[in-house]
Amino acid sequence: MSRSGPPQSEPLWGDFPVDGSAATSDGSRPPDWALPSWDSIPADETEPAPPSPAPAQAPARAERAGSDAAQQPRPEPAGGFALRILQVSEVTRAVRDAVRAEDGLRDVWVEGEVGRVTVSSAGHAYFTLKDERSQLACVFFRDDRLSSLFEPRTGLRIVVHGRIDVFELQGVYQLYVAALQPAGFGDLALRFEALKARLAAEGLFDTARKRPLPIRPAVIGVATSATGAVWHDICHVVARRWPLARLLLSPCQVQGEGAAASVVEALERLARWDAQCRAEGRPEDAPDVVILARGGGSLEDLWSFNDERVVRAVGAHPVPVVSGVGHEVDVTLADFAADVRAPTPSAAAELVVPDRAEMVAVLRELARRAGVCTARVLAGGRAEVAAEGRGLERLRPSAQLAQARERAGYLLDRATRALRGEIGRRADAEQRLAARLGPVLAVQLAARRAGLERSSAALAALGPQATLDRGYAIVRRRSDGAIVRGSDQAPAGERLALRVARGEIAARVESDAGAAGRPSKRGAA
């Protein structure tokens, strides 16, 4: 109560711009409870008091300041010490001034539970804040309310920052809210930072600790709730992208009391299973990677993922861990300890498996490279055959050269057959695949098939036909189809098939060749 006379309260109006700005006359109805509606106050009523105080005010002041004789700087009207009857507004103003003069009420932080909330048509929120013994009327003006992260909601425990003032029109005091936030929020944030700093100092979040993820995990452990959208989403993503994998759910409770312990247990179960599979000599059943997932929620909902036990269980897990907790903006300490942090559960699933469509493209590229190489080798073979052919023309044909030529021709023949057969088989396989992977892929596969057919045509051109065209023949025994490489393979009477450039000739060996190795077959068309 250190302030002097009441009219000096005037400069204080500068502190309360809301009084003027909120005093609109948009004709809206006041809220249906006892608190004032600023919307309904005519502007003139909220104007500052006139410089010269109403005559009645001085006695009111005198009375109030009775215990402090030094505080009577203004002259009292005649008869000022006489007992007189006060106007309502005089009392209210006196209370207002007293409240405003109290430093302890000008900047307050109040924690309590939100009672009834009313939002006026102008967008101001009126609510009560209460504890076991008392309640406090609060006003949250539109502009502050709209820029606030949190809304007052009935039942919510909040901390409010603002000032206490009196609304004269209705003769009530209330808390004018500047900002509010859920109770315990600051506390949680502090605990988060403290634990984060401590674990970081231990090196738990070090980049050097991060393990690479397997490229194509066969078994994926998932620690999450067995009920709910998260588990379903993960199944869906993996079924679409990489159905070769196996999902192993280690169910746990992800919210409420005991969630942290349950998550730790689920992670430990996966760790034990990993050890058991390896000990029993079936590492193929052990998880290659673990997803720790939970859907979005409030700060409190996600809090178990900031629990030290959970963070340590993630950091110490024998299998690389991918975390996908909450939404993109939510970051928990478990995220820091994980080998990889995914923004959401679905993103975690996407991240741990390769994409089936991409793998088909990789396979296609490998097949193309194999085809290119083989075609090149075959082209080399053809050049060799051609060189031999020229050699034969220049020199006397030798049995060895003929054999080499025949061998090359045979291999070319086999390669051509292989390619042709493969086109058929692959067409079948890829048609099956295309039916599953959809029309987009089908277009790609069709292009690949066209490519294969082209290379097959090229290979056919390299085949023995080109050689036969130049006048060579392939000699086979009719009895078993074996190619005749030496005269000893074709005794007298043996029936032969001579494949020439156009068609085949049936022939019979007339006489044994003997040791001379001289050609002794004679055409018998």
């Binding site: 194509r216 066969a218 452990g221 067995a226 009920t227 588990w231 379903h232 199944c235 869906h236 993996v238 079924a239 159905p243 070769l244 994998a245 196996r246 999902l247 192993l248 759910l249 280690s250 169910p251 179960r269 996966l270 034990r272 299973w273 058991q276 059943d285 089936r356 793998m359 088909v360 396979l363 490998l366 097949a367 490279r369 194999a370 085809g371 190489c373 083989t374 080798v377 075959l378 080399g380 073979g381 090359a408 291999l411 086999r414 390669a415 292989a418 493969e422 088989r425 692959r426 396989a429 890829e430 099956r432 695949l433 599953r436 992977l437």
Partner: protein
């Protein structure tokens, strides 16, 4: 070349897992691309490559996601039970 890769050479293609077949296909193509091979070896590799490709594509096309649950029985015994994909109700 790792032990695993060496071990896969000459193994029947149809007995390989996807990963084994893919690794073997990659190795086969790499050997082909290295060049300097006899014609017979080239064709052998090519034929194996084709078979491996078919194995991979087949596995990829036919695969169906397996879903299991890891449960803890009494006395801390772990057990894995099959669950149906997309049908995880308790």
């Amino acid at each position: 070349m790792s032990e695993q890769v060496v071990a896969l050479q000459g193994v029947d293609v149809d007995s390989l897992t996807f990963d084994e077949a893919l690794v073997e296909l990659q190795r086969t193509v790499a050997e082909l691309e290295q060049g300097g091979l006899a014609l017979e070896r080239s064709i052998e590799l090519y034929e194996r490559g084709v078979a491996l490709h078919e194995r991979c594509a087949g596995l990829l096309g036919q695969a169906e996601l397996r879903v299991q649950r890891l449960l803890e029985r009494a006395a801390g015994q772990l057990a894995v039970v099959e669950a149906r994909s997309e049908e995880q109700a308790d």
